[in-house]
Amino acid sequence: MTRSVRLAMGQALIEQRSFWRSAEYALFTFVFPLMILLLIGAANVGSYLPGTHIKNTTVFVPGILAFGVIVAAYVNLGSKVAVLRHDGVLKRIKTTPLPSAAYLGGLLASTVATAILLAAGTGLIGWLAFGALPRPGGLLALTGGLVLGIVCFGSLGLAISSVITSAESAGPVTYASFLPIAIISGVFDPTFGGLPAWLSHLVDLFPVKSLAQVLQNAYAVRPFPAWDLVNLGLWAAAGATFAVWRFRWHS
């Protein structure tokens, strides 16, 4: 057991090293969300949600936190595993005595590390640039929400990796499958509204808005996000089930 844990840690370190060495992953994962945070954040400084005393940025910053978690856990892990499978690296791993759990554990640990770093960067910039801080006592809710988000979107990432048929389409498929939902979920625009009712209900069913609302609850007091927590749990379970059912070591 300890050997597996050691091997998984070694694998995670190697994954992190190659992540930071690769411009395509590191740049897109970190620069993209942080850039959006600064640009759109700047446009919302000093504004309040209509009819409230809640600053736009206290809703927008946790929205970008959610976006970062999704990029790190869903886009990154999903496309990474798809590329590894397509390139035959997963198949090669099966020729070694490395336990499958240690290898996958290493990949997941590296993903978690990336997500935590990105969340920390987003939170820090949100605080320093826009003064957005979790509400008093909201730190626990924030931590719990991040953990749930990483678990949910990590399992969805593993799930979608099994659907991707080529290394070239890995990035586009993962991005295209959540970016439109993120936009109509209002992640980039705190005042976003005016959707037709049916579309608004549909968006509520996806986990993107749920994660954003759970994290927004940690920054500004809002109704307890009971449905969102349940929704994230359901998507996590569905993603994990599909991932386990469809996981293949070769393409």
């Binding site: 091997l7 694998q11 390139d87 690296v89 090669r92 099966k94 070694t96 005595p97």
Partner: protein
């Protein structure tokens, strides 16, 4: 070690649905030898290898690799057997030495890094990014990773398919190095020259059956082909001044005379007696050529002359 046998395959059968891929394959690989499974595409070479590597469970038959049942004891087998699959990628951002070092951590008793780089002749490329390697270098990196755990046995599935001559030559040198390290090697190929050059023993696999097993020489002889004896046609024979030797099916083709014999000693004695009687000396240009693996292989796989033509003249 079980009776000096590294790999034992008995009556191995494999079907995918209604298609029978292996129809009762038997062979043995001894410790320390380079054994080659030779056959055309689609003969079942890779399927056989994948069963031996523990990736597939056979439909029937028994298989022991290093005394283990590959399907049931895959983890233990992988600590002691290195596997080079036909096509297998590397992590995109890795560098050569770094990747080999990572692989070494997967095994209980890894070989030293420097040693591995030397065996596969990649010492100069140690800091090169994997994606910048040539096809031949990538294949040699495959070897290094397969050797990282210092295995007793190495599987190589069509190691040089699609390579240019220089890349093949360096690949072969790496395989020769494996032999020198005392590794048992089981390789598949559809290249005759590769089998002839590298293998201590060969099994010819065709349409899911082993046709012949033995050393290169044995396989050629077992193939039932005759030894070729040729010499420069003496002027007197060409002009019809002396009779053809009795008891030999000699074909005179202009400047060269050729016959094929299943008993070359006897044929040579008859020929030399005949030459002596007609004052032809020792027969200029006398050459005795053992039947080649190529002859046997081409005949077995149906793309060469059959047995009936063995006595005739062949190009």
């Amino acid at each position: 070690m079980t009776d000096g046998v590294a790999v034992q395959v008995c009556d191995l059968r494999m079907s995918y649905g209604a298609t029978q891929v292996l129809c009762g394959v038997d062979f043995e690989v001894r410790y320390g030898e380079v054994f080659c499974l030779l056959g055309p595409n689609g003969a079942g070479k890779t399927t056989t290898l994948e069963i031996l590597e523990g990736f597939r469970r056979p439909t029937a038959g028994t298989v022991r690799v290093l005394g283990l049942d590959p399907a049931a004891q895959a983890a233990r087998l992988r600590e002691r057997a290195g596997m080079v699959l036909q096509e297998c990628g590397f992590p995109r951002q890795a560098r050569v030495a770094e990747l080999i070092d990572l692989w070494r951590t997967y095994y209980p008793n890894p070989r030293p890094l420097e040693d591995l780089l030397e065996v596969v002749e990649l010492a100069e490329a140690r800091n090169t990014q994997v994606r910048k390697l040539s096809a031949g270098q990538r294949r040699r990196l495959d070897f290094a990773l397969a050797l990282a755990g210092d295995p007793d046995l190495v599987f190589l599935d069509e190691p040089t398919t699609g390579f240019d001559p220089e890349a093949r030559r360096r690949c072969w040198a790496a395989i020769e190095n494996l032999r020198r390290l005392g590794k048992t090697v089981l390789l598949t190929t559809h290249y005759l020259d590769e089998a002839e050059r590298l293998a201590d023993r060969i099994a010819i696999l065709r349409a899911g059956r082993i046709e012949l097993t033995g050393t290169t020489r044995e396989v050629a002889v077992l193939g039932g082909l005759a030894t070729r004896i040729s010499f420069t046609t003496p002027a007197a024979l060409r002009r019809g001044q002396i009779p053809l030797p009795a008891g030999i099916d000699l074909a005179v083709r202009g400047s060269e005379s050729v016959c094929h014999s299943g008993n070359p000693g006897m044929t040579l004695r008859l020929l030399l007696d005949w030459a002596l009687r007609h004052s032809l000396g020792d027969l200029d240009g006398l050459a005795v050529t053992a039947p080649s693996l190529e002859d046997t292989y081409l005949q077995l796989t149906g793309s060469g002359p059959g047995l009936s033509q063995a006595g005739g003249d062949r190009p």
